[in-house]
Amino acid sequence: MNISTNIGVWIGAIAALGIYSVLIKDNPFYRLVEHIFVGASAGIAIVTGVQTFKSQAWSPLTSGQWALIFPMLLGVLLYARYVPQYSYLNRLPLSLMMGAGAGVAMRGAVESQIVGQLTATMVKLTTLDAWIIFLGTLLSLSYFFLTYRLEGGAAWAPRLGRYFMMAAFGAAFGNTVMGRVSAAIGRFQFIFLEWLGL
């Protein structure tokens, strides 16, 4: 045994033990680690934000890109929510963010997710595997009919679709275990080898 003398290693190891202690139950040790972690990471987020603001907005503004004054004013309006009689003004910046977000979501949805998936399904149906993929896609899509109720002979389609989805979910679950265990192995090696020096 050759315990580490590096203060950073000690902090990391103690933090990891604090986090793992929540597996037994919530306790003061976990609570303390959680609060310090949240405080540090939220602080990091603010520092990063200020840097982004300086490089993306403030410097370009002072070097002549005057238009950037508008988003800054809009940004300030977010704080109007704290002043009851003007609080409605904070809808202006929110509506810009929502509108732009909606635009980005819309264009991304068509490109990679609809057309791409459709063409990927249109393959030669000459093998059983190709049929399984093809039918699996059609049936699971049929589950998502929300305003039409498939009745009679077609009623089994959404149910089979759900079966295909469950198979996919099971597969994704099983396939993820390895990556998660790897993360724990990394932490355990850190604790046993780097910290305790076993």
């Binding site: 203060i7 950073g8 902090i11 990891a16 303390l32 609060h35 972690f37 939220a42 602080g43 990091i44 603010i46 520092v47 934000g49 200020v50 603001f53 907005a57 508008f70 809009l74 704080y79 904070n90 809808r91 202006l92 910046p93 810009l96 963010m97 929502m98 509108g99 732009a100 977000g101 909606a102 635009g103 264009r107 949805a109 609809i114 998936q117 459709l118 399984i132 993929i133 896609t137 899509l141 589950y143 998502f144 079966y163 295909f164 989805m165 469950m166 198979a167 996919a168 099971g170 597969a171 679950f173 099983g174 396939n175 993820t176 275990v177 998660r180 993360a183 724990a184 990394g186 932490r187």
Partner: protein, 206 residues
């Protein structure tokens, strides 16, 4: 009325349309405008971070007022403030700031992530019960893939290795695609409703 309702709807609509049009049409002026809008959005997002900071400080100072011995809220506020002060005065490359990042943020984050190795097992134990057809399918594909991914699994149940390859490249595909295509149609619908102003509520409108 104009400032409360019409203008926000107009802003959301114009921003959404411009961003979409710029993507499909090679019109330089529209593309420049769209880039501006996206940049503006990121500038406003920085101000939103300030709201978050105010929220953190308000919540934890209240906790402290209620109970001055609330050691946890104090610890959170102290690390929060120290991190910001160090980051802004000494810079992001300073030894103190990298210490916080490398020795507090990164290892604690990895530890939280690795909790998944434990949670994934208890979740499987509880949910992988063959109570009905759906649960049975979930259970069977899940367990085959779990075994097929490790050498010991292939030793105990040799069929699991080839079965895993087949599940991942064939059986899995249809269900994934169905979810993705339907999801994308939903994305378009919700985005459209925001752009045309039907979901004003989503940004606090009436």
């Amino acid at each position: 009325m104009f400032l409360r309702k019409t203008l926000p709807t107009l802003i959301a609509g114009v921003c959404g349309v411009v961003v979409v049009v710029a993507y499909f049409f090679a019109i330089p002026s529209v593309q420049t405008l769209a880039n501006h809008i996206l940049k503006w959005q990121s500038v406003i997002a920085v101000f939103a971070l300030g709201l978050g900071g105010v929220n953190i400080i308000r919540l934890h100072t209240k906790n402290l007022q209620r109970d001055p011995k609330n050691f946890y809220s104090l610890a959170l506020l102290v690390t929060f403030v120290i991190t910001i002060v160090v980051g802004l005065t000494m810079g992001q490359t300073s030894a103190a700031y990298t210490f916080i990042f490398d020795y507090i943020n990164v290892p604690t984050g990895s530890a939280i992530f690795s909790l998944l190795a434990f949670y994934i097992g208890t979740a499987a134990y509880r949910a992988f019960r063959a109570k009905n057809a759906e649960a049975a399918i979930l259970l069977i594909t899940g367990c085959i893939v779990m075994m097929g991914r490790v050498p010991i699994g292939a030793k105990i149940l040799p069929f699991t290795a080839p079965a895993t390859d087949w599940i991942m490249s064939v059986l899995n595909v249809g269900g994934q695609r169905g979810v993705m295509i339907a999801g994308a149609i939903g994305f378009i619908a919700v985005s459209l409703r925001i752009i045309v102003g039907l979901e004003r509520r989503a940004y606090g409108g009436e």
